[in-house]
Amino acid sequence: MEFSMVNLLSLLLLPVFGALVLAFVKQATAAKRLALSVSLLTVLLTIPLLLNFVPDASMQFEQRFAWIPSLGIHFHIGIDGISLPLVLLTNGLVPLIILAAFGHNHSGGFYALVLFMQAGLLLVFTALDAFAFYVGWEVALIPIYFICALWGGENRIRVNLKFFIYTFLGSLFMLAAIIYLHLQVPTGDYELTSFYNLALDSATQRWIFWAFFLAFAIKMPIFPFHTWQPDTYTEAPTAGTMLLAGIMLKMGIYGVIRWLIPVSPLGFAAYGQLALVLCLIGVVYASIIAFKQRDAKRLIAYSSIAHVGLIGAGIFAWNVQGLQGAIIQMVNHGISVVGLFFVLDIIERRLGTRELADMGGIAKPAPALATLFLVIVMGAVGLPLTNGFVGEFLLLMGVYQYGVWYAVFGGLTLILGAVYMLRLYQRTMLGQVTDRTANFSAINRTEWLVLVIVAVLVVGIGVYPKPLLQLSEAAVVDLIEQVGPIVKH
């Protein structure tokens, strides 16, 4: 491990320490400040990462320590072009999420959980050792469970328990697969690379594929493993929803790119098409369901299923455009979904309802909100010069190269997305001012700040996505070559 002036481990540990300290902070404002400063510190630590990163296929800033030597387990982390965007996303969004939660006056415990989860997520995105990956995977789950179940809606308990058990079940299958693979590794370790180098027979790879796929499909979620998601998103507090939709679901997608496909290429060859079809079904199915949702949050939840479906399709199409699109769209989706949920949170806190029926005409009392919301919505709709377009364009292009009709089918998201997103915008912002929305107070500084940052990112990435794309280009090309071109069945 050559010396690098960026210490990745410190990046992972900082949130943990922050969390440990915060756990004992009772006073709300102090907790806020501390949490925000810690998360901003992580951002600072990320900057040198970005500066010293060489956009090639190599693994960088690697660190490797023996963890459980007797079992061949190492704590091995590193970053390449595929994981860097997600690390950026995580460290970028967490401050936003913390900032967005300022309206709620949570105690230190809340922020502690958020930061703890951040650590878990970062571990997932940087782990190069399957065991470490799994640990991060689960560690990220506990805090979010508590966040959602402690500060959630009325039937939060049932919903979150279901969510937890469902995802836990999936990940256990992954664990089994990981152990199995480890047992096949001649060097007896859990290294990502040694997993890549295994050339198992097709039959084995097939069930390995399913074991991993189940874990990731539930997390993302892919149709038909998605039913936990709308409930959880709806019941969760906004910060929880942001973490879930903004970052956590990327764990699944990242897993597909980093583990599922390269580790079981034959399984992928056998079932990739099925998976892709499932993703596309999810796109249309979720969009259609989103049409008539009365609950704004639930609407976004389903829209998120649709977006993720498209991302998944892009990945399973397994070509440069698709993967690049997937990676950039992960970032985009994270950004816009955080924005969307935050707007809904602002509305809900003022109106005390999420029912679209009770809203309308908010643009009148809160024009700034309306404008920023519009930008975010357009980003979600995938309008050119917003980030959404770049992602959707590349994704659809990738899917197109896999099969024309898949692309046409998936492309329906352009239309359907417009339908439900505009409906959302219209029902909330436009139309007559109702007695409820009449005295809707304009957004305060913090809210404005968060939304502006989101909007700027939405447009910024949309106008000049190249730098972001360049980060992952080399790595993606390399990965695709390594797995080899897709074999259609």
Partner: protein, 639 residues
């Protein structure tokens, strides 16, 4: 000069940002000046650009200049640059967009004076100009697509400008979604183009395409998909219903976006990729068919509408139909020519209508107008010119452009000409009907409106006058050789359509036939104008109230042939029903039911198993003994 191309779209963008961000600071007049100022500068630049292109053409060059700003998206073999292409086609389009755009900005200063969203309005207009310029200048399909969707956004924003009225908001949404349907076609076409030609740059595609065989299936697919996109943007069957609703927006918007510029984007795009279309005759036939049908349908509807803007809207749809007819019969120049003239007179008519509505204090129903010509002389005169122009009565612009299209149609297929001819009859009738109902007879409005009647301020009338002039003399751009003209426009555009002409062979029709055709259509127009006069001025008959009984045809026409109702029944309702069904039954009960079912099953079995734990030692021991016996039995056979 060419190096400054990037300024042209940039200026409106700057205007948008200034007006958008400073909308609470800037005074109305200031934002008005900024808003129109940037467009004016852009117009001047375009003028300079055009001059350059023109000289180049005189020098006999192809005069196509590209300017690449930066690489926008790059993934694998796909690289998309944000780059501009200036050639005769885009040069003219630039002039139209910026020119008419400027006029309408000026007009809006007066029209929107009393609206609190004044600055916002100008910001949106600027944004629209920006996107429209991108669309026009784009040197590849993606940049064009950016503009393509961008203008869609702006039309959404501007239609829903008065968002407090949820009907308007709905109209805006409808427009956006219908455009989106087309856009999907565009996107798929782009993918297909990329996979076929390996690039998205016009400069890269068209030469390759020129080398391809006539009637190539790939090209057929591409062109059909592109045409789908065009039907969305340019309001053709089946996606035309959004345009009439789009009249919800302020009138200047209708004039700029839904008459002069955006809706012609489809024609521009097809003209741009003319070679692809020339090589797929089937598509051309489809286009021609759709075009003429739209023209007739819209015209038929326009005849009975009473909302002055609705009439104009349907006439726009119908005129667009003509343009597509032109494209369909290979009269690319003609179609584009009609784009230009139509931009002039339809903008004029809309602005005129705007001024009328302004004077009538926002009354749009012609049944309560009448006799306005003495109150609004300027408006009346200008609109008269516009009407004559659109009706196709020589020597005003509309006559020449429409005639060229019809001539080509005649050469292509007699039937098309006949239908087109019928269309011109309709056109003349409903336009004069509108004119007469509005300006002739006695005033039918309320006393309050009467007291309020006035001619519009200079900011509004001056653009009217300018446009009237253009509408009058616009025809001079491309006077056919039959009338001793020199086809100036055609020559200017020659390099753009060169390949197509080479493939399809030059259009020829001997002058005698041409004279006859012109005469017939001109005469017919005059006759229809007279008929309208008899009916609405001499007889002074007023259209009946909405719910009054009508004849079948009249009702069909008045109810817009129930197209909206049809779509509602065929698409909207089923989709909503499907949505509810998927959510309630498939998602909640079905999939989630299964998931929860597992939980329930475990719980139930738990209740069952715990019964074994009866608390009775005897039973426990009994079970143990059975178990031991079982194990030993296993031992017997495997021991």
């Amino acid at each position: 000069m060419i190096d400054l191309v990037w300024l042209i779209p940039l200026l409106p963008l700057v205007g948008f940002l200034i007006n958008g961000l400073g909308r609470n600071i800037l005074s109305k007049s200031l934002s008005g000046i900024i808003g129109s100022g940037v467009v004016l500068v852009a117009f001047l630049l375009s003028g300079g650009l055009f001059a350059e292109v023109y000289h180049a053409r005189q020098a006999g060059e192809a005069a196509a200049f590209t300017q690449s700003l930066f690489e926008w998206i790059g993934a694998g073999n796909l690289t998309i640059a944000l780059s501009f292409l200036v050639d005769p086609l885009s040069a003219i389009m630039l002039l139209i967009v910026t020119g008419i755009g400027f006029l309408i900005h000026v007009y809006s200063i007066g029209y929107m004076k009393h609206d609190e969203g004044f600055a916002k309005f100008f910001a949106f207009l600027n944004l629209f100009i920006f996107f429209m310029l991108l669309l026009v200048l784009g040197s590849n399909y993606i940049v064009m697509f950016i503009g393509w969707e961008g203008v869609g956004l702006c039309s959404y924003l501007l239609i829903g400008f008065w968002f407090k009225n949820s009907a308007y908001a709905a109209a805006a949404k409808k427009a956006f979604v219908m455009n989106r349907i087309g856009d999907l076609g565009f996107l798929i076409a782009v993918f297909l183009i990329f996979t076929t030609f390996g690039t998205l740059e016009f400069a890269g595609i068209f030469p390759q395409a020129a080398g391809m065989a006539m009637g190539d299936t790939t090209l057929l697919l591409i062109t059909l998909l592109l045409f789908v996109a065009a039907t969305g943007k340019s309001a053709q069957i089946p996606l035309f219903t959004w345009l009439p609703d789009a009249m919800a927006g302020p009138t200047p918007v209708s004039a700029l976006i839904h008459a002069a510029t955006m809706v012609t984007a489809g024609i521009y795009m097809i003209a741009r990729s003319n070679i692809l279309f020339t090589l797929s005759p089937i598509t051309l036939q489809v286009i021609a068919a759709i075009g003429i049908c739209t023209a007739l349908l819209a015209a038929a509807i326009a005849i009975t509408q009473n909302d002055i803007k609705k009439v104009l809207a349907y006439s726009t749809v119908s005129q667009l139909g003509y343009m597509f007819l032109g494209l369909g019969v290979g009269a690319f120049t003609g179609a584009f020519f009609h784009v230009i003239t139509h931009a002039f007179f339809k903008a004029l008519l809309f602005l005129g209508a705007g001024s009328v509505i302004h004077a009538m204090s926002d009354e749009q129903d012609m049944r309560s107008m009448g006799g306005l010509k003495k109150h609004l002389p300027v408006t009346y005169l200008t609109m008269l010119i516009g009407t004559i122009a659109i009706a196709g009565i020589p020597p005003l612009s509309g006559f020449f452009s429409k005639d060229e299209i019809l001539a080509h149609a005649f050469a292509e297929n007699r039937l098309l000409w006949v239908l087109g001819f019928i269309g011109t009859l309709f056109t003349a009738f409903y336009m004069f009907r509108m004119l007469f109902l509005t300006f002739f007879g006695r005033f039918r409005g309320t006393a309050h409106q009467q007291g309020h009647l006035h001619e519009s301020p200079a900011t509004m009338t001056i653009p009217l006058v300018i446009l009237a002039v253009l509408a009058a003399i616009g025809g001079a751009l491309n006077i056919p050789s039959a009338l001793g003209g020199s086809h100036a426009l055609a020559d200017f555009l020659a390099p753009v359509f060169a390949d197509s002409v080479a493939k399809s062979g030059a259009f020829h029709l001997d002058h005698s036939t041409e004279y006859i055709l012109m005469g017939v259509s001109a005469l017919a127009a005059v006759v229809m104008a007279f008929v309208a006069y008899r009916r609405y001025v001499t007889k002074a008959s007023i259209p009946v109230a909405d719910d009054a009984p009508r004849g079948l045809l009249a009702r069909l026409s008045y109810r817009k042939f129930y197209v909206d109702e049809l779509y509602d029944a065929l698409v909207v309702r089923p989709l909503n029903a499907l949505s509810v069904f998927c959510y309630r039954f498939i998602d909640r009960r079905g999939i989630d039911g299964v998931v929860n079912g597992f939980g329930k099953a475990v719980g139930e079995s738990g209740k069952g198993i715990r019964l074994l734990q009866s608390g009775n030692v005897g039973f426990y021991i009994f079970m143990m003994v059975i178990a031991v016996a079982a194990l030993l039995a296993y031992g017997i056979f495997n021991g």
